[in-house]
């Protein structure tokens, strides 16, 4: 069958790709505005090369005083480290437990609308602020030390794990829920035979990832006075004990590596 000449003349000869922003004026206008803002903000923030230049010899001086790292005050180091690990572990476990009811209440396909909204608001609120800001708040309320650190990490872990859990439940195919409901199972049994098997691997994976993250965060929240190795690190910096600081940093790096290695290993095993 040969194509008729009539059909050929109808075919358009030009084709343009569809742009995300179809109007070229709007498109180029937006790009211009972004570039303009970039130039303006670097200008007004006093990003000037002179200061960067002045900083370089100071950095060199600091790094020179850092080596060799000094492990002479290792008792302090070990104590801070253990405190950080304790904070990370207990906060992770408490967060894992608290995240279960919060996560279930935050799944729109399981609970009535008002419950969902309350749970989601809680999750969003606790995720709004960075750990450091929560830590500053808790240090103000409960004073210096690991209590403030643990509470900070519990808030952060709970909101993180419960958000993941809620989303995992929402992503379930409705069919499985329907099928278990159709057998006459009550809500607790629905949790047991449908939601638990579906969410358990991911829940454990996320929790272990969170434990790994908590080890990292526990070293950071100490800087604002919430206990752990971070507090020791901040103190060493302010006393210009840079060799001790480096020793602490190296230990943190080792610990974070170990934590990541452990969490990867466990998650691999769970899969």
């Amino acid at each position: 069958m040969t194509p008729s000449s009539e059909a050929q003349t109808i075919q358009p000869l030009k084709w343009n790709r569809i742009r995300i922003i179809s109007n070229p004026r709007v498109r180029y206008g937006l790009i211009l505005m972004a570039v303009g803002y970039l130039i303006w903000s670097t200008g007004t923030l006093e990003l000037d090369w002179a200061r960067i230049n002045n900083g370089l010899p100071r950095a060199a001086n600091m790094f020179a005083r850092m080596v060799p790292p000094s492990f002479s005050r290792w008792e302090l180091l070990v104590k801070g480290m253990l405190e950080s690990v304790q904070m990370a572990f207990s906060a992770s476990f408490i967060g894992m437990v608290l995240a279960i009811p919060l996560g279930i209440c935050g799944a729109s396909n399981l609970v009535p609308r008002p419950v969902y909204l309350v749970a989601r608001t809680l999750i969003i609120l606790s995720r709004t602020f960075h750990e450091i800001i929560i830590a500053i708040l808790f240090v103000k309320i409960f004073g210096f030390g690991p209590l403030a650190g643990i509470l900070t990490l519990i808030v952060a872990s709970t909101s993180f794990i419960s958000k993941m859990l809620a989303e995992d439940i929402e992503n379930m195919t409705p069919g499985q829920l329907e099928a278990i409901r159709a057998t006459g199972a009550s809500f607790p049994k629905l949790l047991l035979y449908c939601i638990t098997p579906h969410t358990l691997p991911r829940y454990l994976g996320v929790s272990i990832y969170r434990m790994d993250a908590n080890i990292r965060h526990s070293t950071v929240v100490g800087i604002v006075g919430a206990g752990g190795i971070g507090q020791v690190l901040a103190a060493s910096f302010s006393r210009y004990d840079y060799d001790f600081s480096l020793a602490i940093l190296l230990t943190i790096i080792t610990l974070v590596f170990l934590g990541e290695f452990f969490s990867n290993w466990v998650r691999e095993y769970l899969r």
Binding site: T173, G175, Q176, A179, I180, T183, G184, Y193, H198
Partner: protein, 280 residues
């Protein structure tokens, strides 16, 4: 057994999915519900066990009106209705045995269910059903490792674990190839007849409906336009249900199928089971 009176469902969007449906099933027969997409087949079957809440009307199962039951009473009645789904709806990460035993969830307490301690009778019944649907030895396989046909076999076994007084079957073959579809329909029909359980089967394949049902209900735009023994289905009726078309081939094809399928039925079925078991 089952008596439905003037059942209506209007969705919140204003769509009237079923508008005043009445029929009754008073003997253990397989009733095929046919009709075009959107005719309300799925809604109808889900209104019976209230996975979809009916707007008005009565659903009497052995003298109890399901529509007015409280949540707790409804759960008790749901135990007596087994449901089989188009997408099988097995819990993927549970084993075949756990999926089967979930059919008994309405009867065991929470802790027993949690520790997977089901009564010995239930476990025995599960093994027997597994054998009956041709999945002997699959009890510890995870549901997501099965093929489509095997999954539907598990779905059937799960529904029958409830020892239901009524089977609700929603498009059991729509996700399966033609041959597996026939096997699955045969299993459903045989089990329903063996156990004297009436079955309502939504099905869009008219040929399958003709081969396997005792009675056909035709739905069109939420209303029953045909309700008679399967043998009285003809081209005029199909036109009434689906609209004007040449129906002679649909009906003839179904009869041809029947002719070629039945004689070698036994060997075919056995072969395919063995093959599925080997490749599965």
């Amino acid at each position: 057994m089952l008596k439905i009176t003037d059942l209506k469902k209007v969705y919140p969007t204003g769509t009237e999915a079923i508008s005043g449906v009445s029929f009754s099933v008073d003997q253990p027969q397989v009733v095929a519900i046919i009709g075009p997409s959107g005719a309300g087949k799925s809604t109808l079957i889900r209104c019976i066990n209230r996975l979809v809440e009916p707007s008005s009307g009565q659903v009497m199962l052995d003298g109890t009106d399901l529509v007015t039951l409280s949540k707790r009473e409804l759960r008790k009645m749901r135990r007596r209705m087994g449901m089989i789904f188009q997408e099988f709806n097995l819990v993927d990460r549970l084993t075949v045995m756990e999926n089967l035993l979930s059919g008994r969830l309405g009867y065991v307490n929470f802790w027993k269910a949690y520790r997977r301690k089901f009564p010995p009778d239930d476990v025995a019944a599960a093994f027997q059903l597994l054998d009956r649907v041709g999945l002997n030895g699959y009890q510890d396989t995870r549901a997501d490792e099965l093929s489509g046909g095997q999954r539907q076999r598990v779905g059937i076994a799960r529904a029958l674990m409830q020892q239901p007084d009524l089977l609700l079957v929603d498009e059991p073959t729509a996700s399966l190839d033609p041959k597996t579809s026939r096997q699955i329909m045969r299993i459903i029909v045989e089990l329903a007849h063996e156990r004297g359980t009436p079955a309502l089967v939504n099905i869009h394949d008219v040929g399958l409906a003709q081969s396997f049902s005792d009675r056909i209900i035709g739905l069109r735009q939420g209303e029953i336009v045909f309700d008679e023994a399967t043998t009285s289905l003809n081209a005029d009726v199909l036109t009434e249900i689906y609209g004007e078309d040449d129906w002679s081939t649909t009906i003839r094809k179904a009869e041809d199928d029947e002719g070629e399928d039945r004689p070698e039925d036994k060997s075919k079925k056995d072969n395919s089971l063995v093959r599925e078991a080997v490749t599965g």
